[in-house]
Structures are given as C-alpha cells and as structure tokens.
C-alpha cells in the first residue's frame, strides 16, 4: 500500500484521486488468532499496532461491534497532556506524550498533534499552591511545567476575564507547553491503517456475544460474525467494560459507566491558541483547526450507557465558558454529544493481566483516555505479549484497590462521580 506523503498526494491529485486504496482491509474473520483484541477504538487499535511492531505478534484481530472508532476515540475533546500530580501518573502520561510526538511519522498518518500548550487557571492562593505542587511534581518527574503570572496569561490568552472583579479572579496559571491537541478520528484511522499494514485483521460490525473457555481459561470469543478462537483475549472497551466483562462472568468491577458531554461552537477565526482550563469549576476548552471551540466539563454524574446527557451540565459548562471569556456569550453552541466513560474508583485506569486466565483487561479511563492512547496500547501490548505488566503500568493493575495502593489524583476516594 502506498505511503502517504505530499508527493503521493500530488500524484494522486493529478489522477483525480482514483489511485487511493482503502486505509485498512475489510477481511473475513479467520477461525483463530494468536491474540484477539475486543474493541476497535483508539486503545484496542494501538494495542494491535504495538503488538505487531514491538513484539512481532501479527496474527491479531481487532473486533469492533460497530464502525471503527465509534466509541470515545471519536467523541472527546482531543486534549493530550501529562500535567498530573502523582509520580505513577506522570511517568505513564509523559511516556504517552513522547509517543505522541513521533506518532504521525510512526504511523505515516498525520494525527495533527499540535503542542499548543495546556494552561490551568488558578483562582485562589490555595489553588495556586495546589497547582505549584503539581507543576513541581511534573518537573521532578522529568516533564515540563511553568508558572504564568496574570500578566503573562493576558498576553497568551487575550479575551480572558482577568479583572479583579471577576467572581473568581485569576491569580496565575500552570502551563504545560508540550501538551496540546490532536485530531481524534485520525488517531483511530492512523493506528488502524498502520496495524493493518503489519497484518492485523480489523473486523468491523463484529460484536462479541460470549467468551469461549477451556478448563477455566478464556480461549476465544463468540461473535456476531462467528466463533473466533484465540491464544489470548484482550478487552479494551472503555465505556462498555462492565457489559463485555459480564459476558465472561465478571459481574462486578471497580467501575461505573457515566456519560460525559462535550461541546463544539460554530467555527471562528483563531480565537484561542492553547488549551485553557477553568479552575473555579471544571471546564477545558481549545480551538480546533477548523475553528470550532471544543470544550467540556464534568460528567453528568449518574450511571448511563445512553451517549446522551442532560441540561444541568450543559448550562453549567456554558456558564463557566462565558465566565472565562465574556465575549463568547455571543458565540453559538453548534453541537453537543455524549460519551460513556469508565469511571474507576480512584480515577485512574486499569491495565492488567486477568482477571481470568487467558484474559487481559484495559479499562477505567475515566475521561482521560484519549491522551493515553499510545501509552495505553504500548503497555497493554507489553502486558499481553509478556504476561506481566511493564514498569509503567505495574501500578495500574486491578489488585491495587484491595491493596490500598490507590492512584487518586483528585483525592476523592471511591466516589466515581467526583473523579
């Protein structure tokens, strides 16, 4: 299959673009694979890619119940960052940012990772100290972080309400310059194409309806396209984890499924350059290359599989937007959507062997899964290939809850709606 490049684009343009081939094949399922990955979202596709690339395991199928990338990889606010507090998180997400920096080249697909920076606004001395702690933790963990004064923020983000009379005046901001945004769909398509080119079978419209067992070991799946046997079965279906794991007889997990809404405004000429978050509430916003302001806030706060939220969160998010940028009151909301999040009990993900022999589980991404896509796939592939976690994901195994070795960035305990 042809490499993508400016030259290839030019050549094809002259030929009316008739020479392009499908980005990935549409193969029929084989009866058996070495590894079957359930879930054709970002994490599942990345896992397949790194299994092939890093571990030489290419007899792999990715099973997607609908169209590829129809889950949260295609419905998020596209933010990539590693501005975490706890060392386990910083190590993991910093590794992810490093993979992001090379991703377009690695995949030969422009995922449009744009390191335009993420700025967290602080609104009280206590919050400033909190952010200082986090920024310093990032620096000590080897990452980048800097503190911006209100004057520096005014230069970087014109239009922000930085007046002392604001309900929550801005006292400063934590900037991670290497953070940014990427094009979400391109990540799914890029990984799919790259995995496909290494021999991975991507099977769309292939819903898992059951698991095969032999002597207590998972050895394959029943699907809407027939039985598929597998040496190992890996599940990466954040949002639907409890549903799929119930098919394997796991009825309870440290996970609740919640709906998170996200929003896009009408397209505008460049208005804001970096990602900005509002500290006196919960809001994160950036501007896409097409010009739409892309933003979101809290989860709705109740269990849901509906991919649809309700008005209270909509109103709260818009209120925070116009509190930050009072001129945006006249800008209009164009679209909203809802995604289903795996909210875990400490707000951190789970990348683990088990919980059954032959099974591997990647879940619990809360609403931070997009940025983690490369590192999640990389470490999950390692865990599957070697039957043990890599040092990067060793803290993120399932048994940490029993052990009390929690990774609780927000310090909220086992109340998922607060993470």
């Amino acid at each position: 299959m042809a490499e993508y490049s400016a030259l290839a684009l030019l050549k094809n343009a002259l030929g009316g673009h008739r020479g392009w081939k499908p980005a990935w094949r549409k193969p029929e399922p084989k009866p058996a694979y070495d590894v079957v990955i359930v879930g054709g979202g970002g994490h599942g596709l990345a896992t397949a890619y790194y299994l092939a690339k890093e571990h030489g395991i290419t007899n792999v199928a990715v099973l997607e119940k609908g169209w590829l990338g129809s889950g949260n990889i295609g419905r998020n606010t596209t933010i990539v960052r590693s501005n975490y507090l706890l060392p386990e998180s910083i190590r993991f997400y910093d590794f992810s940012v490093k993979l992001w920096e090379e991703l377009s080249h690695a995949l030969n697909y422009n995922v449009m990772f744009s390191q335009r920076g993420v700025l967290n606004l602080a609104h009280s001395p206590a919050q400033a100290d909190d952010y200082m702690r986090r920024g310093n933790a990032m620096r000590h963990g080897g990452g980048d972080a800097e503190w911006l004064t209100p004057a520096a923020i005014a230069r970087k983000v014109p239009g922000l309400d930085l007046s002392g009379s604001a309900r929550f005046p801005v006292v400063g901001g934590l900037l991670q310059a290497r953070a940014g945004t990427a094009r979400h769909d391109a990540v799914a398509w890029g990984y799919a194409r790259a995995a496909d080119r290494r021999g991975v079978d991507i099977l769309e419209n292939c819903e898992v309806t059951g698991f095969l067992r032999e002597g207590g070991r998972i050895c394959g799946v029943e699907t809407s396209r027939g039985t598929i046997r597998a040496g190992k079965v890996a599940v990466a279906v954040a949002g639907s984890t409890s549903r799929v794991m119930a098919l394997a007889g796991i009825e309870r997990l440290p996970i609740e499924s919640h709906v998170l809404q996200a929003f896009v405004s009408e397209a505008l000429k460049p208005f804001v350059d970096c990602v900005v978050t509002f500290g006196a509430g919960h809001l994160y916003m950036s501007q896409s290359d097409k010009g739409g302001l892309v933003f979101g806030g809290d989860i709705d706060g109740y269990n849901s599989y509906a991919q649809r939220g309700n008005l209270p969160v909509v109103e709260e998010v818009m209120s925070e937007m116009v509190a930050m940028f009072p001129s945006l009151a006249r800008v209009r909301l164009l679209r909203s959507w809802g995604g289903v999040m795996d909210m875990s009990m400490d707000g951190s993900p789970i990348i683990t062997t088990g919980p059954l022999p032959g099974l591997y589980l990647n879940c619990g991404w809360c609403y931070g899964g997009f940025k983690a896509t490369p590192a999640s796939g990389w470490t999950f592939a390692w865990t599957i290939a070697r039957d043990a976690p890599h040092a990067l994901n060793a803290p993120f195994t399932l048994d940490r809850f029993q052990r009390g070795a929690l990774i609780d960035e927000k310090g909220q305990g086992a109340t998922p709606r607060l993470h």
Binding site: A13, R167, P326, S336
Partner: protein, 998 residues
Amino acid sequence: MSPRRAAAGGLVDRDRPVRFTFDGRPYTGFAGDTLASALLASGVTLCGRSFKYHRPRGVFAAGLDEPNALVTVLRGAVREPNVPATQIEIHPGLRVESQNRYPSLAYDVGAVNQLGGPLLAAGFYYKTFMGPVVGPLRGTRFWMLCEKAIRRAAGLGRAGREPDPARYERMNAFCDVLVVGAGPAGLEAAEAAAKAGKRVILAETEPAAGGSALWSGETIGGTPAARWAQERAARLAAMDNVRLLTRTTVWGYYDNNVLAALERVGDHGPAAAPGEPRHRHWTVRAGRVVLATGALERPLVFPGNDRPGVMLAGAAERYAVQYGVLPAARLAVFTNNDGAYRAAAALARAGAEVAAIVDTRSTLSDAARALAAETGAELLSGHAVVATAGRRALSGITVQAFEAAGGRLSGPRRAIAVDGLAVSGGWSPALHLASQAGAAPVWDETRQAFLPPQPSGRGWLAAGAVLGTAGTAEALAEGRMAGRRAAGQRAARSRVPAVAAPALDPHPAEVIAIPAPGKAFVDLQHDVTVEDIRLAHREGFVAAEHVKRYTTLGMATDQGKTSNVPGLAVLAAARGKPLGALGTTRFRPPYAPVSLGALAAERYGHLRPERLTPMHDWHVDNGARMEDAGLWKRPMIYGQPGETVAQAYVREAGRVRAAVGIIDVSTLGKIAVKGPDAAAFLDRVYTNTFSTLPVGKARYGLMLREDGLAMDDGTTWRLGQDDFLMTTTTANAGKVMQHLEYLLDVAWPDMKVHLTSVTDQWAGAALAGPQSRAVLAACVTGTAVDNETLPFMGIVRGAIDGAPVTICRLSFSGERAYEVYCGAGHGLAVWEALMEAGAAHGIVPYGLEALGALRIEKGHVTGAEIDGRTTARDLHLDWMLSKKKPFVGAAMMDREGLTGADRHRLVGVVALDGRPLGGGAHIVERGTAEALGESIGHITACCYSPALQRHIGLALVRGGKARHGSRAHVSDPLRGRFGPVEIVSHHFFDPEGSRMYG
C-alpha cells in the same frame, strides 16, 4: 424601488422602510424583511464565501437551514459571528459584515484555494504535513507551522474580545402540551389541546406563526392561508391557557420530556425592550409533546450547483410570496418533484420570468403540467441541469436529456440564459427532535425521506410535514388529531377546514445527484463535493459516520440540514446499496445553534452566588482583603496602609500570641446531631468515642471515609444528652453532611438520629490569645468564664450585648482560645461587642493568613494535609483511632498500601537559608536547582513564624518521623527556589500545650 422588489404583495410593511448597512454600504428594506430578503430585493447576490475554497456564495435558503449567507452582526464593539442572513430581521441601525474573505467579499485572496482544489480533496491533511524526521522541523514542529496557516484560512466569522453587555435569562415553564412549530399542523394541534382545557405552549422559530401558510398561496376554509394563520394565532394567543412563543427555537429534547428552547427577545430591534433580556433560555417540562416541525427542502446535486443565484425552490417561492422579492429576473426551475411547480407559479405571478422548468422525471402529474403552463415556461421533462455559468452570479445553465431510471444523460447539451435557478430535490422531515428523543428514523422509499418511527410511549406525537405529509389538508387533520391525543382525548377524525390547493403528486423521483462531470457540491458551507464522498468510499470510509468525519459533511453551522440526505444518496450509490440500508446519523442537540450567553442565563456575569458571613461588611470596612474559600468570602488579612500581606499576617499572628485576636469562623460547617441514638451514631462515624463525652464538653474528632483514608476533622459539642453540635471544616461542610445522611438513610436506617445543617444559622467568632479570657469576662453576662467554669473543651451559655451566645473553649492556635457562637442575626452585634471589650487589651482582627501561621506553628492539620490521600497515621492522628469500637473506615485503614513505611507522613520543615518556603514546593534529598533530585514529598503549608522567627512549613515526606533532625532541600523549580531545610517535628511551638490549657 429596489431592483428585485415585486410591484405588490408580500407580508412586509411597504410603508415602513428600514435602513441598514452591509459591509459599510447602506441599504433599505421594509419592516418584515429578513436581511436575506432585503439584500435580494436590493439585487445583492454575493453574500458570503465558502469555508474551504472561498467560493462566492449567495442566499440559498430562507430559514435556519441557510448554509451560505452567514454574516457577522455588529453592535458597537460587540460581534456576533456566523448568523444566517435568513434569520436576521432588519431593523434601524442594523450593521452587518460579510465573513471569511480578505480584503473584500468581491475580491477574496482566499479564492486561490480553488486552484489547489484537486490537492485539497477530502482528508488530504491526513496524508501530508508530517514534515521531516530529522532536523529543526522534526517531531510536531513542521505540522504546527502548517497548522498556523490552515487555522488562519479556516474558521468563518471572527468573535469579538469585548465582553458582551447583554443580559440573558432563563425561564422554567410547565405545560400539559408543548407544540413545536406553528405551521398549519401545529396551529391546529395547539388549538385542539387548548380547547380540551390543557395548558399549551406553542413555539415557533419564525417571527410570526403560520409556517408554510405564509407563502403557500393556498386558501384554508375559504380564507387566504396567511390570513387564516394570523387569525388562528391571534385566537390562540388570547386564550389564558395558551402561551404562543415566536422567535423561539426548540433545540433540545432531553429525558422525561424536558425540552430546551431559545427565544430571541431582543435581536430584532436596536436594543432589547426595557427589562427584557437579549435571549431567553426556556426549559419546558411538558406532559406531552407534539412535533409539528415541518420539513426542510433539499437540493439536487449537479455541477456548479453552488453559484450565487442557485436557490432552493421553496425559498424562492417564499421570497416571492412572503417578502414580495424576486430572487432573479429570469429564472429556471430544476426539480425531481411537483412541489417546485407551485414555486414556479408563485414566482411568475410575482412578476419573474420563468424561462424553463427542468424536471428529471419524464412523466408528470396534470396539476404540475397546469402550473407549468401558467408560468409560460418551457417544460423540459426528462432533463437535468448539467452545468452552470457565471462568476460571482449565475448567468446561465446547461441542460441535457436525462433518463432517471438508468441515471443516464444523453443528447445535446443546451445553454439557457438565466440569472436564477430554483432547485428542489424533495423534502426531508425535520425529525431532529424525535431523533434526539431516541427515535431511529426509517427511510421511506415512496416518500424518499427519513421519517420518524411510530411513536410508542415516548411522550411525543407528530403531525404534518415532519411525518412526510405533503398536503395542508392532511397536515391540519393530523395536527388536530395529535392535539386531541396529546390532551388525552380520543383520536377521532373530525372535520378540518377545507383547503384549496393544486392536486400535486407528493412523491419525488429517486434522483438526487446528476452524473455529470464537474464540481458538484453536497455540503455547500464545507465545500464537500460528490467526488469527496466517492474518495472517502474508495478509501474504505463506508459507514455514514465515517464519511461524515472524513469529509466533514454535515458538520458546518447548518449541521447538514440540506446536505445530509444528498450526501447519503451519493454514498449509497457508491456502495451500490439502497439509501435506506445505510441508516442516518443520530441528531444531537442543539437543532440550531444557541448562544452560549443564553445557556448561561443569569449566571452570565454571576457564575456563583457569594456566601457572606454576617460580619462581612465589617471586615470590608475595616480593611480586610477578602479571599475566596469555596463560595465563601473570607478575610485574608486586615492590611494597614503600606503593609504587605506577609507583614500584615506576621503582625496579626504576633498580636494573638502576645495579647488577643479575633477571627470570623462563621464559615465552619455546623451540623446539629440530635436524637436518642446521636451519641452511638457519632461513635460510628468518628474514629474516637463521643458517647463518653459529658454534657457541656466538646471533643476533637476525626472522620475517615469508608476506604480508610482521612476525610475531615472538627470539634463536636455535647449540648445535651441527645443533642450535639458538630463542626466541620469550611470546605467539607456539604460533603460531611451528605456522608452522614447517606449512612443514616442507607446503612443504619434504624438509628434514631436527626441531622440538620445549621451552618448559616450560627455566626461564630474565635477569640485567641492570652488576653482572650479577659475580653470575654468584660462582655459576657449570665455565666462566669473562669478556668473552673469554662475549662479547656468546656462549654457555657451566656449573653453578649443581650444576645444569647454559646461559648466553647477550644484552640486551633495553641493559645488560650474560645469560639463564641450566636444566632446569625446577632453576629455583627456580638462581634462588635467583642471588639469593644477587647480594645483595652489590644485586640486585633486576624485573617486566614495569620490563622494559617498560628496553626502551622502548632502542627495542626487542615485540608492541605487531609487531602483525600492521607491516612490518620500519616498525620500522626493514630491516637484518635479507637480500638474498642468499630467506626467507618476501620476495616479498610490497615491495608498494606496505607500502612507501608514509604508512606508520606507529616513533618515540619525549617528553612536553613532564611528564605521563604512556598506551598507546593517539593522536598528532595539530593539534586540542585538545575539538576532536580527525586522528590520525597512536598510542603503543604508554610509561613514566616513570628514565634520562631524563621520560615517554616508543614510537609508530607516519605518516611516521616524517621527523618526528624535530618537535612534535605526545598526544591521549587516553578518559583526558582532551591535551598537547604531541616526536617523536624510538626509541633514547632509549645508542644506541651501549656499556653492552651492554662
């Protein structure tokens, strides 16, 4: 007279000319005109530039489905970008400018993108801009460079940076029946429900009710349809149980029949009326919903279909009939259905020359032929438009014979000179709200449309064109039936007014795209062409959602209202499948764009309420600098002229240790815990025991979460055998209350305990310092306050300045100290009495900074240490963990991860270089300011200690106590601070507590 205004007709008020400007040029229209109709009347055909290729575009539609004519409305320095000209009612002083063009609309350098057209095919950006793998532009740098240019070219309008001065408002409404859309079906439904006595809300996007009746040219009950609609609407508006909302778009259908609507209250005049907001955000809770949302016309897709002058046939008809405006002088019609014939006739009646009617069908209805004959147009059945001509305006079309069944063009091409082309590809029901409510649309082959499914207990009914119904008579009948059913009445058919209308064939031909060479646009605003969709298909993007995402089809501000079905039709043809097999994408809120300000409503400019203590004004009047603590405003310092924050708190804290200070503690959470099981309940929720606490005494308590981590601390006072007053930290007041209520309701429903939040009912002042007792003695009546009567942790009741007070002797500062509580209404008087009594003792008010310094010196923990990740042992509060009784968190607190030797535990740190420490700074054993060492912990709180005269801090450090006496470094790269510290006990000052107990 404007060049395109018909001699007569239309619902505009020809006696009221209205002047406005477009790109600085003055124009005149009539009251009742939209910006679109007024510009068309003035002969303006070029209104905008497209998103990608910057192609010239004109008005295409007449409603909120307009994809092309988007403008920015200017009010002073305030900008509202991307408003469809079809939705702007002209008014005196209206100023608008065109968008996405430079330097001007007529000459736009961005149009150079058209030359690169072949390169800019769907998804081209995924295949390039990746840049070199080595060198200065490696990594993401090359892409970010390209991205800058792409961003400048993209976007549409420019948002302002000036705060919007407008006011927005939210309204909650309740009704039995909400009718969405006030066309004939909606009017009929509303009246049927209203006559049944139901509370009805009827919402209409347009400025006036009537819908298609305003331009259909039909008669209803013998009356011209427009007049019928006006009379009907007036009748409804006069009914007490009906609320008619015009200029109101219902945009969201949420769970349990909660619908959201936007009312544009003030946009149609120079300013909102006095007392009125600009926009009103309606939240309607409806018993039943009748969707009478009509249908949106869709175009045919053919090369050159985007030229200014090409317009939807229904829109052209509407301009002619409703506004008395001819979109063109000489025009052609291109259609696959009968509807456009009515438009042709209306245009001809208004004075336009209809040169030709081009119909993809070879067999036509008699009614269509009759209308065609009336126009005098050349009727080209079995033909298609295969090209258009003109630069910034249409100058002609090319037609060719077309066989619809095989989709084949044949025969000679023929040019026809026209300056307008009215196009119709059929109608798509506006079923967006039903889709939002969860209904999956079903493709109907005969009607060539996605229809809403039969509603089944979903709370909504539908009537009229949204069901695919074409005729007004049927729509009226369906409306009445839906209104009756929504009102809970039998759905018996009853007589509706007779409609006089031509007997048109409601079913369009299957044709949507014409297979001729050339750029044929599907999504006009985003410049998505037929070829783009085919390319997506070729590259394997065959799911409808994939095509949408890969090509950006339907993602523009019009949200694909005109392009959705044509796009699917092109995809279906490429896949060789029937359109119905593809399904459509799910519609999501909002149906039409909604201003962010409206959704914020009253919260715009007032994001959160302010919580103020009863003494707030006193603090402000006495020089307090206020700080946000959650929703509360609390004094940070009471600064004196020329003082820095640090100087102020050092002075305040010093006065507390030397004499006496007073601080407002009204913000502490306060919960009344009462009932026969109150003591037993507290034993369960606190780690320590409260059942042994004597009446009239207080005790410090610690709560854990169920997972064994520390949750909150505070004192609880036993006021009576079954009567406790619990205090919590300010930040956790709500959370603790909820925690306790959950346990009582869910875990221990048999316990007889009642909880009441009394945070706002009690004002509190804490008096601290060696002179505190003397101050109390000087002003408290009704009780003694000596050490005997009021020992440490004792409670007395008395009065200050006549107000009843409860006084507890407890200390957060390590000094002799008291908390004085009184009813909130007495708060200020009591505070002032304490200040007065304290004057002789040199009392000072102190703020949070001094409070922090005093508690740091004592090593008391607060929210900075109880941060949800620490245990009682981490904070050296293990002495509070009762071994005699179970308590919340006891079973989980001993897990290995919470007890290991590497836990970060509370210590004190002292700066050895005499420089300030910073909150959030880290502690390292090794390293330098440049080569950062490994973090072993962080500083949770720090201050300059007036008592120790050193910079000190509390810190959570790996290993904790074991490091006492050892050296380490503070490492604070964000502040550029690095220096030596000593790790010490967190009890810096008076560890024996002699000052507190004495």
